[in-house]
């Protein structure tokens, strides 16, 4: 599974990354988590950061940040 965290590296994006990693850990699922900070790449997926893309599907964009439970359900959908 491939997970992309979209955002220029502001505190929100870092917080989101922590939550995604926590979700993966709690589910005991392995995935490649990549941080995408390039606007040319971010602009392909979302119009508001931070964003979460799992297996090329946009799962979230903007604030407020999704809760860990929410992220878990997306991961299970794409499993």
């Amino acid at each position: 599974m491939e997970i992309k965290i979209l955002g220029p590296g502001c505190p929100n994006c870092q917080d989101l990354e922590r939550r995604v990693k926590q979700a993966l850990q709690e589910l005991k699922i392995e995935a490649t988590v990549t941080k995408v900070a390039d606007y040319a790449e971010i602009g392909k997926y979302v119009m508001m950061t931070p964003g979460v893309v799992i297996n090329e599907k946009v799962k979230h964009s903007g604030k407020p940040l999704p809760r860990v439970d929410q992220i878990k359900s997306w991961i299970l959908e794409e499993k």
Binding site: P8, T49, P64
Partner: protein
């Protein structure tokens, strides 16, 4: 006056203002977040790509009120707008209005200065956003946007429908997030404001920053730029200073500089705007803020 008089005055100010601002914060952020669920980025993009350009500038300025993201999260939307054919000047109006008129700043203005000043702030912010976007539109600077912006092939998904339950959940979550981010700054800001209120003599502020000082507005803008995103902590202090003689125009200019112009914003925007457009953008906005400042000092 005995020292106890100062202390009780400061305490009164503090105990009265903090609950009031917290209350306004909870209610208004909730309402704004609820309105925002009707304005997802896809819809904003559609609204702005249909109209004639000047109307576009005005609606971009108005939509900016409800979408108070920091510039880093506004850039993808900026890209999305240009991609879908929204004129450059209209997107610029949005980029000015979105950070300048933010709900936290409005709440503090309303709570501390009263609704009239809050309305004046919204209207002047919209005026600056509309006109600076309109001027940049006339300058035909489309080539001054980094070329990659026009070459992205987006794979945006369709607008999702959202239930009322979903809207309320979103709004509550948003309130929780904003509150946890700003409550402390409000506390500190009001505490400093309370001390100024109780202890700083009126003549001092009036002498240095009152209506007589022709440079007050300029200086206020210069000081305001590095205080980015700290509207919550800054506004209570400014309010206390205004009571001690800081002129209204200077106060407005200062707050707009705090929210609308900032160094981090400048650096991030450089990724999508070439230097010439970036400087034009900041120059027009700064000029607008300074003019508004002098205008209000002149009228009042």
């Amino acid at each position: 006056m005995p020292k106890g008089g100062h202390l009780s005055e400061a305490l009164n100010f503090f105990l009265y203002d903090v609950p009031k601002i917290y209350f306004l914060l909870l209610i208004i952020v909730f309402v704004v977040a609820l309105v925002r669920t009707f304005l997802p980025p896809e819809r904003i993009r559609k609204i702005l790509s249909h109209e004639n350009e000047f109307l576009g500038n005005i609606s971009a300025a108005a939509l900016g009120i409800f979408t108070p993201f920091c510039t880093c999260s506004a850039i993808p939307l900026f890209i999305g707008m240009l991609e879908s054919g929204v004129p450059l000047g209209v997107t610029m109006s949005f980029l000015v209005s979105s950070p300048t008129i933010n709900e936290v700043a409005l709440i503090l203005l309303w709570g501390l200065f009263g609704w009239k000043v809050a309305v004046v702030y919204i209207l002047s912010g919209m005026l600056i956003a509309t006109l600076s976007g309109f001027i940049i539109g006339r300058l035909k600077m489309e080539k001054e946007v980094e070329p990659f912006v026009y070459n992205i092939k987006p794979v945006w998904e369709k607008e999702e429908s959202i239930s009322w339950r979903g809207r309320f959940e979103y709004a509550l979550e948003y309130v929780r997030e904003i509150f946890s981010q700003v409550w402390f700054y409000v506390l500190i800001g009001v505490a400093i404001g309370a001390l100024i209120h109780g202890y700083v003599p009126v003549e001092m502020v009036a002498r240095y920053a009152g209506n007589q000082n022709p440079f007050a507005v300029l200086i206020a803008v210069v000081i305001g730029v590095p205080l980015y995103s700290n509207a919550a902590g800054t506004i209570p202090i400014v309010q206390a200073l205004m009571e001690k003689g800081l002129a209204l125009g200077t106060t407005l200019a200062f707050m707009m500089a705090v929210t609308g112009l900032s160094l981090p914003e400048f650096i991030i925007l450089r990724k999508v705007l070439k230097p010439k457009l970036l400087l034009t953008f900041f120059g027009t906005v700064a000029l607008g803020i300074v003019l508004i400042g002098y205008l209000f000092n002149f009228i009042f």
